[in-house]
């Protein structure tokens, strides 16, 4: 009774989503966003009409004016600098716009570009000094702050009366300052366009990535050939440009050049940027963070002004909110990854029938024996982690290695070896297509192929994104094994979409259906997911009817059959279930049956733990990872089965001397070759009564339709 409740609870409640949502980058902004909501709600309750349309429009104009400056500041902070001269640049460009308009009587279409170029030039001074001359950003912009402010004071001394006396009544100018489209202020439209572009720029475009890379690690960026100096200079220019844009709208709205314009603006802007979660020191930040920070600062200052709080109280409240928000935000950003690592592993309910007996002499084909004791060994100590092995018609032996190579061994004694191809990721399952091209699943990279003249090509590394997944599951994280249909389509398994190559055993702790079967069609280059929700799908082999594949589900301890063509197309049937171990690769035997590797044997402790998800979750939260209960992958065996689901024989190495760990096997001319992902050798076992001429892919393509 209670167990069915547990089953129901784990079937209905998606535990794994919590960790996946938290590991999204945008949750870094969660705290600033919550602060913004609290501030907005508190103020709208305290001040009647605070969130009215008219009030909002006015707030929006101010917000966007400052918002442009915050965008500029954010860009500079993300690239690893700081721009303290923003307030003075704001004042100077405000003066520039009004001087051109009121004193020189230029048309508006002339004023706008001149002001923006003036801003960009002021920023370029900072940019050249900090970027090219590599002066320190803080001290340099501090000096330009003083210089620009002094220049502004000198300029308005001569012209402030002229500007104050002029009342330009130009429709386009008024549109900038107070107009709008459908009630949306003009500045908001411009700001939205710039913010949208900024977001795409920072997250999707190469220069934006360069900026984040320089902020994240200037040295690495320099070493990887990014034009560090130019990029930094351009960021300061952009900062000046954006400030000028804000000042332009400010000039159009108010039309004044008072002495205190822009004084202390750099503090407000800096506060907004940091409050939004853009970290000083660079490398972290987004447009959304800049916007949230701007809104928080502006709402607080405006709200306090509206409440007509005395200046001192105003300052105290602002300071206190800033400090508290910054403290919480820093704690959050600092501990976020720790929280994620605690909640990401989310075990689920997984019940298995009792383990079938494998006791020696119990009369079943599974009974323990010692037949693998006398396998001969190939390349002991010269290969690491041959997960799969494959042989071609000329008896060459290919095996993957942990170092990202496919190694070729030459007959007859397989002593001589060469690097057949360097891929860069660990090769797992392999198969030959009709033309002799070697297809390989590369853990962490995807599906690759190596042509006969050693050319490495990417076949595919992404599939269609499923609609309801939180993690981006379009990338292939752990392509595992494959086989090729008669029409050339490659069916391959992806073991899990939640873990990387190096953490694959953790997926066994979850025991959720995180894996899938994917089909790659080389005729048009498309990749589609055909089956999902599988418990670590692993070995794949085309069945004899050439219309279906057999695939193993490692944590499900089953072998299933999936029809991709023919009358039963789309159906899945169970071939073997409740295996005594965790099935891995499947390959055909010369007598028409199939070989199956069991990578490890089940044990009652993990079977019990699989029925107790709460226990496993507590374990994952409270214990260090090397003390977790993991599936046994030290001892396994090879079994032979037929399509009706009968186990025909099994091969064991009882003492675990020669070949205890097996992830794959391949029959070839009377021998069975054995691979293992933890091994430093390849095993070769002489099969009695086997077809001495059997070459798997020769026979496969000779008989193909």
């Amino acid at each position: 009774m209670s167990e069915s409740l547990i089953r129901l609870r784990y079937r209905l409640w998606p535990d794994h989503l919590v960790g996946e949502i938290l590991s999204k980058r945008w949750t870094e902004t969660a705290i600033p966003a919550i602060v913004l909501i609290i501030v907005a709600v508190a103020l709208s309750r305290a001040i009647p009409g605070f969130l009215s349309a008219a009030g909002l429009a006015d707030t929006a104009r101010q917000a966007c004016e400052i918002g442009f400056c915050v965008l500029g500041m954010s860009l500079v902070i993300i690239v690893g600098g700081i721009d303290l001269s923003i307030g003075s640049m704001f004042a100077l460009t405000d003066f520039c716009a009004l001087y051109c308009l009121d004193v020189l009587n230029w048309p508006v279409w002339g004023v706008i570009p001149v002001t923006l170029v003036a801003g960009a030039l002021l920023g370029a001074v900072n940019g050249v000094l900090v970027g090219y001359f590599r002066l320190r950003a803080f001290i340099t912009t501090l000096i330009t702050l003083i210089v620009y402010r002094a220049a502004y004071d000198l300029l308005i001394f001569g012209h402030s009366n002229q500007i104050a006396a002029a009342f330009p009544d130009i429709p386009s100018w008024n549109f900038l300052g107070g107009g709008g489209i459908f009630g949306i202020p003009s500045i908001v439209l411009v700001y939205a366009a710039i913010a949208l572009f900024g977001h795409v720029f920072l997250t999707r475009l190469r220069p934006g990535w360069h900026i984040v890379a320089i902020g994240g690690s200037r040295r690495s960026a320099f070493n990887s050939g990014i034009p560090v100096r130019r990029t930094i200079a351009l960021c300061y220019i952009a900062s000046g440009f954006l400030t000028a844009l804000g000042a332009l709208f400010f000039a159009a709205r108010l039309g004044t050049v008072g002495g205190d314009i822009g004084v202390g603006l750099e503090v407000t802007v800096l506060t907004a940027a940091i409050l939004g979660g853009i970290s000083l020191g660079g490398g972290k930040g987004s447009v959304a963070k800049a916007m949230i920070g701007t809104l928080i600062v502006l709402l607080i200052t405006n709200g306090l002004t509206t409440l007509s709080a005395p200046g001192g109280v105003n300052r105290m409240v602002l300071a206190a909110i800033l400090l508290i928000a910054a403290m919480i935000d820093i704690r959050w950003v600092k501990n976020r990854t720790r929280i994620i690592s605690k909640v990401y592993v989310s075990p689920t309910y997984h019940a298995m029938p009792p383990i079938p007996s494998t006791a020696a002499g119990n009369g079943t084909p599974l009974a323990l024996n010692d037949r693998l004791r006398d396998v001969s060994e190939i390349a002991v100590g010269r290969i690491e982690a041959p997960e799969d092995i494959i042989l071609d018609g000329e008896d060459n032996l290919y095996a993957g290695s942990r170092h990202g190579d496919i190694i070729r061994f030459f007959p007859p004694d397989y002593e001589r070896m060469e690097v057949y191809a360097h891929i860069g990721g660990q090769p797992l399952g392999m198969a030959f297509d009709r033309a002799g091209t070697l297809y390989a699943c590369i853990g962490g990279m995807g599906l690759y192929r190596i042509t006969r003249n050693h050319q490495v090509e990417k076949a595919t590394d992404e599939t269609n994104r499923s609609l309801r997944s939180v993690n981006d599951d379009s990338r292939l994280r752990l392509a595992d094994d494959l086989d090729i249909a008669d029409d050339g389509r490659v069916f391959f398994s992806e073991a899990t979409v939640r873990y990387e190559m190096d953490e694959w055993p953790v997926d066994g702790l979850e025991a959720r259906g995180n894996g899938r079967i994917i089909c790659y069609d080389p005729r048009n280059g498309t990749t589609r997911t055909v089956l999902r929700g599988l418990k670590f799908p692993n070995g794949v082999s085309i069945a004899k009817d050439r219309q279906s594949i057999l695939f193993a589900e490692t944590w499900g301890c089953t072998v299933k059959r999936y029809w991709f063509a023919g009358p039963k197309a789309g159906r899945v049937e169970i071939v073997l279930e409740n295996l005594p171990g965790y099935p891995d690769n499947i390959n055909p035997a010369s007598d028409g049956n199939y070989w199956l590797a069991l990578v490890g044997m089940r044990c009652p402790a993990l079977d019990l733990a699989w029925r107790m998800p709460g226990f496993r979750r507590r374990m994952a939260k409270r214990l260090p990872i090397d003390e977790w209960l993991f599936p046994n992958i030290n001892t396994g065996c090879v079994i032979k089965f037929d399509e009706q689901g009968r186990i025909l024989e099994s091969l064991w190495d009882l003492g675990g001397v020669n070949h205890p760990m097996i992830t794959s096997m391949r029959e070839h001319r009377g021998y069975l070759y054995l691979g293992g992902i933890m091994n430093n050798r390849i095993g070769r076992y002489r099969l009695p009564n086997a077809d001495p001429d059997f070459v798997q892919y020769d026979r496969r393509w000779r008989t193909a339709a």
Binding site: I82, R136, D153, I274, G311, G312, L323
Partner: protein, 348 residues
């Protein structure tokens, strides 16, 4: 620290290795920023002495120093923090609010000693809060001190002072000597600057805590791993800075006979940072000392004084000051360019 411990540091301390580095870079003489700024000061001083009438007189020299004494004292407080890889923007609030509180309390009839105790307690509290926020809550120092300074200024405005300018009252007369007295013909503010400089120089160079400040500024993580009490020392830095700020404020109030609390809104904090950084104390921490503050103060003081004699407007003074400073740091960056390989992360 015993003599035995001290001697190895004296023999194989910073300067020999620095000289070795310099030799390794090609044997050329590469002046440090400190040297450049000092040279610039000497050149300007020479030019002004020759060209400006009334510049090189004993009276003007004393005026020059007196005008920058407060700036110099603030620079000393800032230097301690900057050497420990921080920055204290709340220094001006510490300058304005607690001394203002002294004046206000005495005006309201409290005794001077009580007022002083209250002021230093307020300064201590500011330093402790700053230090806690930065060392324990790990808020960036730029941001923490910005907000705490804002808070303190707001507190003064809202709750402590009746007027923006707190006037001197007769009860304060015991302190007048700090601002307007003379010792052997030298104005007391200069003496106070010298006094503070000596005390802090002894702290930084001769005490164990002082070398901890350098170690933490040089590499905070290494200092922590080496077992230094990094967090308490950071708190100590900010406490010292704000107490020095309060001290500077009292000297300022005594010399102008009032406390203009709106000084918080001025750009004085930028001048303080300029004094420190221009003198050659890098913002990345662990470098420089009290000598650098004195050099920076002398340069700024000379320029301000000469421009005042030339009767330039405040804005024009700022403009020229900024340009000269820019030239100084550009020269430094040409002679000692930053290395992309060794530039520190977050080194702004």
């Amino acid at each position: 620290m015993t003599k035995a411990e001290k001697s190895p540091r004296g023999e194989s301390g910073r300067s020999p290795s620095a000289a070795r580095v310099r030799r390794a870079r090609g044997g050329l003489f590469r002046p440090s920023q400190q040297t450049i700024v000092f040279a610039l000061f000497l050149v300007l001083f020479l030019i002004f002495s020759l060209s400006l009438h009334g510049f090189l007189t004993p009276d003007n020299m004393l005026t020059l120093l007196q005008n920058v004494a407060v700036l110099g004292i603030l620079g000393l407080g800032m230097a301690v923090v900057v050497i420990g890889r921080g920055i204290d923007l709340s220094l001006i609030a510490a300058l304005a609010v607690p001394p203002g509180l002294v004046l206000q309390m005495v005006q309201n009839g409290h005794t001077l000693s009580l007022a002083l105790i209250a002021a230093f307690a307020l300064g201590l509290a500011l330093g402790l809060v700053n230090g806690w926020l930065i060392a324990y809550a790990e808020v960036p120092s730029l941001f923490a001190t910005l907000a705490s300074g804002l808070f303190l200024a707001g507190l003064g405005q809202a709750a402590l002072f009746k007027l923006d300018v707190v006037q001197w009252s007769p009860g304060m007369n015991a302190l007048t000597i700090l601002g307007q007295g003379r010792v052997a013909g030298v104005p007391v503010p200069i003496v106070m600057f010298g006094f503070a400089a000596i005390v802090l120089a002894l702290f930084l160079r001769q005490t164990r805590l002082g070398s901890f400040v350098y170690a933490i500024g040089d590499n905070p993580n290494a200092a922590r791993i080496a077992g230094l009490p990094a967090r308490p020392v950071v708190v100590l830095q900010y406490v010292m800075a704000s107490l020095v700020g309060v001290f500077a404020g009292i000297v300022l109030a005594a010399s102008v006979n009032s406390m203009p609390t709106r000084i918080y809104n001025s750009t004085l904090i930028y001048d303080v940072i300029l004094v420190v950084v221009l003198g050659g104390i890098g913002l990345s921490g662990g470098r420089g000392g009290i000598v650098n503050v004195i050099i920076g103060t002398l340069l700024i003081g000379t320029m301000l004084n000469a421009m005042t004699i030339m009767d330039l407007s405040y804005s024009a003074q700022n403009l020229i000051k900024g340009l000269v400073l820019l030239i100084a740091i550009m020269t430094d960056s040409f002679l000692n360019p930053r290395n992309e390989e060794t530039a520190q992360q977050g080194d702004i």
